[in-house]
Symmetry: C2
Subunit: 453 residues, 2 copies
Amino acid sequence: MSIKKVLQCVDKNMDGLVKDLCMLIHQPSVSAKNQGIKKCASLVKNTLKNSGIGAEILSIKNYPPIVYGEVKSKKNPNKTLLFYNHYDVQPVEPIELWNEDPFSGIVKGNRIYGRGSSDDKGELITRIKAVESFLKETGGVPCNIKFVIEGEEEIGSPHIEHYLKKYRNKFSCDGVIWEFGHVDSKNRPIIDLGMKGLLYVELSVSESIMDAHSSLAVLIKNPAWRLVYALKTLRDSSGKILIKNWYDDVVPLGKSDIKILKSFPFNEREFKKEFGIEEFLGKKSGLAAKKSLASEPTCNIAGIISGYTGEGAKTVLPAEARVKVDFRLVPNMNPKKQLMRLKHHLKEKGFEDIKIKVYHGEAAARTSPKHPFVSDVISATRQSFGKYILSVSSAGTGPMHAFTKILNAPVIAVGSTYVFSRIHSPNEFTRIDLLKKATKCICIIMDNFSSSD
Amino acid sequence: MSIKKVLQCVDKNMDGLVKDLCMLIHQPSVSAKNQGIKKCASLVKNTLKNSGIGAEILSIKNYPPIVYGEVKSKKNPNKTLLFYNHYDVQPVEPIELWNEDPFSGIVKGNRIYGRGSSDDKGELITRIKAVESFLKETGGVPCNIKFVIEGEEEIGSPHIEHYLKKYRNKFSCDGVIWEFGHVDSKNRPIIDLGMKGLLYVELSVSESIMDAHSSLAVLIKNPAWRLVYALKTLRDSSGKILIKNWYDDVVPLGKSDIKILKSFPFNEREFKKEFGIEEFLGKKSGLAAKKSLASEPTCNIAGIISGYTGEGAKTVLPAEARVKVDFRLVPNMNPKKQLMRLKHHLKEKGFEDIKIKVYHGEAAARTSPKHPFVSDVISATRQSFGKYILSVSSAGTGPMHAFTKILNAPVIAVGSTYVFSRIHSPNEFTRIDLLKKATKCICIIMDNFSSSD
């Protein structure tokens, strides 16, 4: 059977994988600063080509380009697997906390250091090398392969939907492997079947055109008080959102979701110790806590500011107050509809003077655990890593819904990112052992996927 | 009558007043930075001496010294008038907005520019020159004169009470002229008979030992929400404070206070235009608005901060939230008692986890409009300025209560500080015409005070 040889090929070519990954790390590609984006796109295109993958640069307007890769399968031309990744990275600041140049790509034992080593150049290289191994060993791929590698993930993927809509046909596929997949502290890969959505807004209110001396608080209204009164109407102390109809579209967890959650390992004690807390919001624990992580909408104050916030005392009556609020959404909640509900709520409660600025609106996505693609991934993960954890949904948010909706395909996150690999932080690294296992995992997914229904 | 000659002497010696004021301005004395404090105290002492006033430096521990001045009266050794002033000034920053060196003391037409030109070196010099004019012209003073000139007023007078208590006998007097007195845009001097008190606290709460990703808001409590819920219990949207027994000790305005308020000119339209507001808190207007300014307690959010407050969106769950709240107090409210009421309230409402840091606690002070000292000042002000405005109480706060309580004497604010003279701001100035009028006013107050009951 050819898959064995393909996996042996992965083993033999790990030096090449490490070399190519270091080359990608050497090329800065910080989307937040538009640093090296085009150069990196071109380098990624060449990396694909050198691995035998057809590659081209796709551009819309002045948006950072997408690198598109494709290999057609002779064996099974009717099934297509798409890898979604990104070639951009987070800024490197604070640079003084790095032990090496962030773009050095230095190998130390089992680790490769550098910005993007895990997120997401490390994940990308495992997928490229999996395809390369098939091509080398068998002269082809078991199913059609597509790569969509964007350059704006670290700034919130503002144009991924534009690309998906424009290239809907080019990108059409039967399954998507997400850009990352976590591996926990016990080396168990987490297979995530979904992500939450997000509505991120800033509410601001001003009551006068300039700060005043606080002795005038008898006459001039205070915008910080106004925000307090408005916020109080949004959410109660148990975390329940008080906006009318907020939960109307929420679909409850299915039986199979709950079954998965029940066996999901969540170490409450470790978690509480990490954050120095004694009890969870609403005294949740056990299954209730896990259900919340996977499927509870939230209304979170991410930031609030008004007036004087420095050392000591200043008797000021501020002119303006601002609060950033992020609402996590769950499947079937539409960010635009929820925004309308928020606007309606504020109006109805008499806060029509509060301005709303929308930063993000992204729907949740979830793939049914009953989808055959899930079995393909589970069995591949068990084979390559020896164990796995299945997760109904990450508590986090990504542009997953754009893929499930526009491409109408199941999306699963599985990969090589060690949970303590310091992504987005100084001294980010990736683990070579996990890169190898993840590459093999991708090979087996391709093989399984080709032959499943 | 000798007072005429004394006033003529003031006219003749304006050059000397301007020269001495500029000399005081030349000497930096920024208490917030401990810059030039001792040098300035010494300069002030010498200025007093050069004007014929007995002077000495008083020190407690390492507190900035007080300059004490004294002239005994042969004519009326039974009545003592005390001038309270300060030789320290506000920081000069932002220095780039000054047209001249802040310590240059440059004269341009009717104006003298420089930090402290109005606040408070300008006020101080009028009092010194008033006494000097009496000494020059009559060889004595109509009543005993005392000067208490402190060096920490601009940082909240943290030790004035210590000095007043230690030197209670030395400072004993029958009337105090306050360190400032405002002159409005129509050149009307405002005679203030009181100041509000202040309780300034910072409330802080933390729910975890570090910031978390906001996806964890389903489990980790958010300190910003906690503050919102706590704040909501302190005050309603009309401005009414909801803390139990908060208003218990408030003494209502007397008939004579209301009479004064009725004739107090308050241009609501001008005020609203200045701040760009359409209506006052609680739709107050007319006498109600004036009553509030003079005698309504407040609970003001002076500053609030938690989480990410920069540009754009960050999905964070903050570890800590802080709010600065200032409560203005009115006569008979005891800051310590009110603090206990606040603490008790938070505990009763279940917010015992909220930490309280106390920055300031100062009681309100008010001198009865029926006190004969008030008539002395009114008639002097009318004579020197041609007009005056009587005010029950400033809406602001100062350490006035320490004087009324410890020295058991009436305190009145009257002086030369033009309301638009940019005190605490770049390009602070004083007006020479107002310095002259205020000096004459002080002369007449001394004369009236000596002969009144």
